[in-house]
Amino acid sequence: MTELAHFGGATLVVAVQLVVVVAGGLLLLGVMRKTRSRLEGRVGPPVRQPLLDVVKLMSKQRVRPSSASQVFVAGPVVLVATALFVAGTGPLVTSDPPLSKSTDFFAVVFILLLGSVALALAALDTGTPFAGMGASRAMTIGALTEPALLVAVLALSVPAHTSNLPALVREGLSDPQVIASPGRILALCAFVVVIIAETGRLPVDNPSTHLELTMIHEAMVLEYSGPDLALVTVGESTRLALLLGLLVNLFVPWGIASGRGAVELAFGSAALAAKVGAAAIAIATFEVFTAKLRLFRLPELLAGAFVLGLLGVVTALVVR
């Protein structure tokens, strides 16, 4: 009986996290667009617009390029599946998600890499010049963000003696001093740059551009339509939400549920929404005042993040 209750609790947690992150991710896109519009003196679309867009796209016809193979169809599915996997098992609403012992930070990095690789391959599968350009650029940026991310993860893991993600969050809860340690702050800076690059925000990529030569992410998904485009949108917004969720929970863990009770989960969801919303508004505000960097200036930014992460590792070694 307890087994069953345990299983039920775990399923509830996964369901809550998935709903919160997926729906929240789409709303997050709306919030960011609304923030930008308002700051630029426009009214902007309603916050729920991305949600409506996805619903509309789901009922449209699927058109796929005749030159593409099954990889084109599979790409968005893999993207969504990897994002959902991390959203379901990561410490987002509660610090004790199911399979919490096996939610390893390095594993999360590689699982998200699988999503990026799938999308890049799907883009190359269309055989069009723009998609190839997008894939090439996205992989180049990915090749430079991945090291920054890995060293930042290592900088967090060294003082905590583990790379287990829920354990890292719980450590911040039980010992707030850890969060203010220099190693963690350096890692935070690296993380912020990495997340901006990974989710294609300014100054790395402009999510609202469709100018042919400056697109990165948009160029990759040009050929998608209907339900496939809906999946790409959901996958990307879920990634944005979960990366921001992990960021805020690692550096501002307060408010996260520590158990699996329904009330706790409700409060945890509210706290997550508030924290991630604040982070998203901050990013959107920053975007208003920033111009996109030239592609070949990006390595400097990303190398900076890498060095910060590495400094974080060194600091964590020295200061302990």
Partner: protein, 676 residues
Amino acid sequence: MNGSVLVVELALGVVAAAAGGLCPEGMRLRLAAGLTIAACAVAAAAAAVVLGTGHGVAVHSAGILPLTGASLDLAPPSSVFVATTAVVAIAACVYWPGYARHDLSSRTVSAVIPAFVTSMLVVVEAGDAVTFLVAWELMAASSLVLVLAEQQRREQTRSAAQWYAVMTSAGAGAIVLAMVLVCAHVGTVSFDAIAAVAARPGDAGRLPGGTRDVVLVLALLGFGSKAGMVPVHVWLPKAHPEAPSPASALMSGAMVNLGIYGLVLVADRLVGGAPSWWWTAVVAFGAVSALYGALQASAASDLKRLLAYSTTDNMGLVLVAVGLSGLLATAHEQAVAILALVAALLLVVNHAAFKGCLFLSVGSIQVATGTRDLDSLGGLARRMPVTALLFGVGALSVAAVPPLNGFVGEWLLFESLLHALEASGAVVGVVVTVAVAALALTGGLSATAFVKAIGIGLLGRPRSTGAATAHEVSRSMQIGAGLLAVACVVLGMAPMLVVPSLERAAASLVGGGRPQVLSGGVDIAVAGMEGVLAPLWIAVGLALLGAGTVAARSVVRQRRPASRAADAWACGRELQTARMQYTATSFAEPLERVFDDVLRPDHDLAVSHTAESRYFVDRVVYHSAVADVVERVLYRPAIEAVRWWGSRARMLQNGSVHRYLSYALVALLVVLVVLA
């Protein structure tokens, strides 16, 4: 089980080589391949038993080699390498008859492949220095013949073989010298006896410091060259692409590992533990190799060259892990040292599986399309789906994405780095931090390289008629590559099938220490750390969520018009051709620019004008290539210097008999003066 199993394996190998050399055309290939598979199966079974029980088997025969005899000794550490070699060789031999139909069924090749495989097995099983060196030389010679097998088809094969011959002979020379120094000091050639002397407490019988350092440096150069370590890697990106694909798979999946085996053999057993500076050098060379290999792989547009550089990259990672393990052992952190060595062995096993699979499937692609140049491939996922799938599995394994085996290896490597950082003093801390930086950079680069390999090579539209008319290859080729692809998937989802054996092997090398990698059913856990890695659950979870996503996508199908295929939109461009696609060169161009200083690509732009007016361009020729910088900076000047001396020395010989007689007279006088 006793030592006779090793004799059976050796005999099977010899008979296979003889059958390949002597039997008539129709049957020799199948006979040789079949007997080699049998030899490898015996070897793999013996290795599995040794790893399972922890007890080695040995056999000595005074008759085979003069003076010292030959001895074979299969212990747990060498069993890991024997099993890996045997599995790759089985896959290559299953593949070989299908590939040979297109070429490569000559008497020489049929005799040499079994000899190559057997000599690799004997290198690892050798129980004394003489057996080891004889097998090593046989391995070098037979692989050289294989590199030359297709020399009549391509011009550059001969030059590649020359490079390989020089590098492998020089490496073998260094190894012979190192072994002779050790054996001369101890007075025996048996590895066990040498190890017993080296492990004796106190300084009695140990190598004097200076000699030991010379031995270690020679070993690092000789074995490092075999493992593709930068800067002695130059043969690898030349010889791997030029060899026929089954031979490339054997070289990259099995032979390079023996360099790692040799390093561990010399450092841990023969000299009784290397000093920390040497291990630091191993880590440093490994980190440089990993980075350099990954960069070159992401810039390469020849598919096999890309794989060859990726081998340098992966062996670099192994060197980092091995060096780290040695460094930690000298700092008396036995437990973490074992963990790092387990990571190294797992990387070796994984690399053998995915690189073997990749080379075999590239061989299939080359047979089907007639080219291995990425810029003229494309669209193969539709023309030859099975081969494309196998290549994809291998390539995604290298890119370290779950749920494939490369991911587990990288994870364990990062966990051992994490452990090492905690356990470390100042020296280890600095070394590990540098290693971390190199490894982190390598990961993203190799993912880019293999996205390029899949995306340009297999997807999109065909870029040449060869690719457009390709047909799926024969069943035996698919099975050969498929065996290793299955290994990639199985090792990725259930690494605990092999990790305990690797741990036993690592513990017997390092000595002492508690078990570090713990098994929780299908999970991997590292001792003293919270949390585990559950690769099987990741695979299951991803599969379930993927299925759910597909279901969700088709939920509202009723209301929706049926899907259709149309011309790609491409921002409204009509009449698109395959030539408008991105190529491997253009895909790699941004990275090439970012790492301009290291790669130093050559760009050559020639614009010719029409005769009537120079304002009208007639044709534009653009040429871009990325050469090996190390070769250009380090080796070319040396070659030029040797050439110059050679041409100078020619002046001594003018064909005049009188002059030669006077040389003899002068030489005689000099000898007399010196003796007097």
